[in-house]
Amino acid sequence: MATEAVLAAATPQLRLHPWSWLFVLLAQLRNFALPLLALLVFGQGGGWEQWQLYGALAGGALALVSVVQYFTYRYGVIGSDLVIRAGILNRTSRTIPLARIRNVSLHRTLLHRLFGVAEVRLESAGGTTAEAHMRVLSLDAASALERLVQVGHGRDAAAVDADAADANVLLRLPTVELVRLGLISNRGVVVLGAAFAAASQMVPGDPEQWFRPVGRWLFGQAEMLQMGWLATVLVALALLLGAVVLLRLLSIVLAIVQFHGFTLRERDGVLGVESGLLTRVRAHAPLRKIQFWCVSESLLHRLFRRRSLDVETAVSAGEGKDSSRSINHLAPVATAGAVAALVQRLLPEAGYPAFDWQPLHPRAWRRLCFWPLLLTLLAGLGLGLRFGAPGLLPLLLLPWWVLRARRLAAATGWALNGTVVAYRSGWLNRHTAFAELAKLQGVQVLHGPFDRRRGMATVAVDTAGAAAIGERIHIRFLPEAEARRLAAQLGRHIARNPLAW
């Protein structure tokens, strides 16, 4: 490839794509979108021309910066290092050893694809920001860079090329699966909620005003048709059903937009994920960077006989906002067998589905139902005093809480083998989380006053790059002696074995 020859020249001499200024400008405009919008909204009235002038000046300055960046940015490969020079007043020259680059991600929105370019980010180990962010390279140049980094990892060029061919594909999601994913995940509700919240913030005045005409129209129709109460109930039900169906359809569309053409590849310990309908993202990460695994199975998952496999990598852990760039979803939706096969291929030592589950403290269920029972009892009594007998209705929940606690306690457990520590939790929505012992960072035994009264304790382990929310290995309600034994075993194992990055 011709580009590769130039890549390997003596001084960095490759430029960004000639259209890169446009993308830099767009990215900057996105940062300034809110002030610009405010300008448009509040600038009306007096002095509109003046505001327009300010806007034009600001836009012009941004465009100038973008063009200057294009002319000053140079990159190239010198020896085994990637060298990047940038800046006009303050010149910087950054040298990144190719072997240190852990993740090359290509990001292509619809606009990028229109121009045949890609946004490239290079990340090295552990950092929270990218080592280099190239906005934008031609697709050829981006692919050449990607190849070079992979060859820099000691992989021969033939192997890299084999990647491009369809060998080593671990998982591919056809559209049928994406429809299932949409139905299971219900992304539509989240997006609609966010959109509604944003709209109520942005739109001046009471959001109710916007819905009142719609409601009035509906009621007008109902009156015109002279419907009885049964018909009204039926129409209301139909409307509700319609809303549910619409939300599910939206979820399906969102799932397809995010995961269209999802492909998971693995070769020589490097994982690659590619997906997206409009915005196409391709990310790579070494397999050994995976710190934490979690197989989730919600009620809906079970209805469709599917599961999902998520992982946490230590690559760019700080950029929670940009989660599309790091590899999180190894299998957004797959059968239990496919998930098991995937884990067995990627982490054979774990022995994934066949864990030797250990139970919690036999009285764990009592702890699990204590607070719900107490609160329900108090609420029921309070309402009963206020409203008489009907207020006691919440007390019907009491047996449910006991049932739930017993099922939860029975479904929760932990397992330890020579490679991983695992924790399963949840009754209706189940999670099985596990982490390699070699990647644990610390162990804790925690106990509160209630734990001490019942002789229980919690064992918590820590991994790198853990998300702020989500499943953790935080094993509550263990018998204290067992908790201490488990923590001691884990601690000793971690101490004796070096960290496997």
């Binding site: 960072q441 804790q444 790059g465 201490r484």
Partner: protein
């Protein structure tokens, strides 16, 4: 990957054993903790005095006596509880360095026992706040690559202990492995990791 013996566990030798011996913080740390607790509650007193004073002024001159007695009662309550809590916190805090790593035990009601394995220590900071300097103390901060244990802080170490602990944790990183360098602890404290509860 090395397999781990799951059946025979020498739990008594671990920091997580219920009867494991932990080192207490330096006796100076108790003074330091008390001083900082007192300073904190004095600040609370000063802030709370303002609305009480304003209220008494609004109520007329007779209310000044009430204000003063209220403030005095608050002062006795706050300062004594701060004093007692600081002492209890000092007693509840312990550390221990053994072949596994640095173990820290703390908390009165919600207790935690944390082990930072020596193979996971990234770097160690020693800090000296104003109260630390007054009492010859140091605050040890151990960093790991983890998330919620990314930095584990142990305040109130004697300066010499803290330095010895830092050296023991960091030197071992260079790969001597095996037996840790025993920190040269002050005469009052026994060598950690050497003896355990019998």
């Amino acid at each position: 990957m090395q397999s781990m013996p799951t059946a025979s566990v020498d739990a008594p030798r671990s920091a997580f054993a219920a009867d494991a011996r932990f080192e207490r913080l330096s006796p100076n740390a108790r003074r330091g903790m008390r001083v900082s607790a007192l300073v904190g509650s004095l600040l609370v007193l000063m802030v709370s005095a303002v609305p009480l004073f304003l209220l008494s002024v609004a109520r007329g001159e007779m209310a000044v006596a009430t204000w003063l007695s209220l403030e005095a009662a608050l002062a006795v309550l706050l300062l004594s509880s701060a004093w007692l809590l600081a002492g209890a916190r000092w007693r509840a805090t312990g550390w221990r360095l053994d072949e596994d790593g640095l173990a820290i035990r703390r908390g009165l009601l919600w207790r935690s026992e944390t082990l930072v394995p020596r193979s996971r220590v990234q770097h160690v900071d020693l800090g000296h706040g104003p109260i630390d300097r007054l009492f010859g103390l140091a605050t040890l901060k151990v960093h790991t690559a983890g998330t919620h244990l990314s930095s584990v802080t142990l305040a109130g170490m004697a300066q010499a202990d803290a330095e010895a602990l830092r050296d023991a944790l960091v030197l071992d990183e260079r790969g001597d492995g095996g037996q840790p360098a025993r920190p040269a602890v002050a005469s009052s404290a026994a060598a950690p990791g050497a003896r355990h509860g019998d």
